[in-house]
Amino acid sequence: MDNLELLEHLGAVEAPDEAVLLHATAMLEAEIARVSAPVTDDEAPEKSRRSRRHSRVLVGVAMVVVLAAAAFGVTSNLLSGSSSAAASVLRRLARVALVQSPVAVPGPGQYLYLQYESSYLHKAPTAAIGASPSHGSQESYTYFQIDREQVWASSSRYGEWIENLGPPTFLSPSDTAAWVADGSPSIPTGTSASKLGPDPLYSVIPTLPTDPVALGKQISSRSIESGPPGPAEDFVQVGDLLRESDAPPAVRTALFEYAATIPGVVALGTVSDHDGRAGVGLGFITDGLRTDLIFDPATSMLLGEDETVVASESSLGYPVGTVFSWTVYLGSSVVDSMPSIASLPAPPPPPVLGAS
């Protein structure tokens, strides 16, 4: 039995008893009996209704004041959820986005061609785990690889995805030593290709509201993307909707304006992405990890993203300052064809292993 078969075997469970299914259905029927009319805001449970109205009023007031302040060229910490500096940056990006030309979208038979580079830290356990590691031995080694990706995607995001994994670089000399002590196991590199399925999110993006309050309501209620509640997820979802998207300028503007109301967003000033391009950075810290979005101030387009450990209590366990992942968006254009899998680019040179 190979590992895939074992994993699938571990998922083999017995079907439930009929009585369990009936009991579960009875719980549903009890709920249906309790709420027998269609769901609307006013029919939601009392606790939820109060909190939603409260939130809506606060956002509404904040946006009115923010827009008024923008009109008079003033800012204040009291005007928005983000820090004053972050809100100011986001409103500036909103104004820039509004005057951009719409992003080209692929027509029938065309593809959106995207290029990225990214890197993530990989933590691989050594064989010492579960045995009796010798004194001073390390139970894992950490490395990163630069992943160069190309995507050809139709308007519904069908298409192809080609990635080229570069040679690994170990995080520290002790990680190199742990890898060597573990027998220098092979670390995959090279080129691979796969097909992309459709992405329902991208069919929704062009239809999103251009009113920031309405858009923010959809985001925070998780009706566009599901996810946990809270401002950290709000910030993530704004990034999702700005990344790789063909959102119209008015929607991008509304996204930036809504982001200015998210509490906890911080301005990072002028920062460089991992391609060396300067942009304006905005971050959000959660669990000791700061997620940064870097935008081109001239076009409002997303240049790159970083995740950096900023607190020692981060559950990731890396030293403060460690870049956990990064991505740079290197370009997009509409093309008339995509390559066949057989025409993959040549693989990279053999790995050069060692500490960075």
Binding site: L21, I32, V39, A124, S194, P198, D199, E225
Partner: protein
């Protein structure tokens, strides 16, 4: 022709709330298995009804572009499990770990099997989302788009999480076949 799940959810939203019960007959076994694989049979028995109640309450948010409700129901089941585990942790505090989901049933099975300790190590090296992506491929046979829907993340994120999971598993197991790309390539 049998009506789609999306049509049933739509009817339940615009007036015929009881239509929603049909989904329990169609997908009760699959959702119970999803819960059972992750939390064990007894907890699955307890939680299945809660999944239906939560799904019914959330029916107005159903994306009707998806004719099959299973990915949506898996996502709700996942949220119910996480809430259950959070509540359990509050009642019986444990030493926190990097992974937010304890996956007790999988851990128990791996302990019982004791055949592939390296598989357990490899799975433990993954984040909870990476492991969930992996298991949604291996156990629920979902496509990339469906996994994205379950987890509420863009497919690009699924790709990167799968890539990381695949790399970690390869590093541990040397199993090139563990997550063959074509396992994810159902274009539905």
């Amino acid at each position: 022709m049998e009506e789609t799940d999306a049509q049933i959810v739509s009817w339940s939203t615009i007036g015929d709330a009881s239509a929603f019960v049909e989904l329990t007959w169609r997908h009760g076994v699959a959702i119970h298995r999803y819960l059972s694989r992750r939390a064990g049979r007894a907890e699955a028995d307890d939680l299945l009804g809660e999944v239906w109640v939560q799904a019914f309450r959330a029916r107005a948010t159903y994306d009707h572009a998806w004719p099959d409700a299973r990915p949506w129901l898996y996502g709700i089941a996942r949220n119910v499990l996480r809430a259950h585990w959070r509540a359990t942790a509050r009642r019986a505090p444990r030493i926190p770990t990097a992974a937010s989901d304890p996956w007790p049933n999988l851990d128990d099975q791996l302990d019982a099997e004791a055949r592939r300790p390296e598989l357990k190590r490899a799975l433990e090296s993954l984040t909870d989302v990476e492991r969930e992506v992996l298991l949604l491929v291996a156990w629920e046979q979902l496509s990339q788009a469906e996994i994205a829907f379950v987890l509420g993340v863009p497919p690009g994120t699924v790709r990167s999480r799968l890539h990381r999971a695949r790399t970690a598993m390869r590093a541990e197991l040397g199993a090139e076949s563990l997550l063959a790309e074509d396992k994810l390539l159902k274009e539905n």
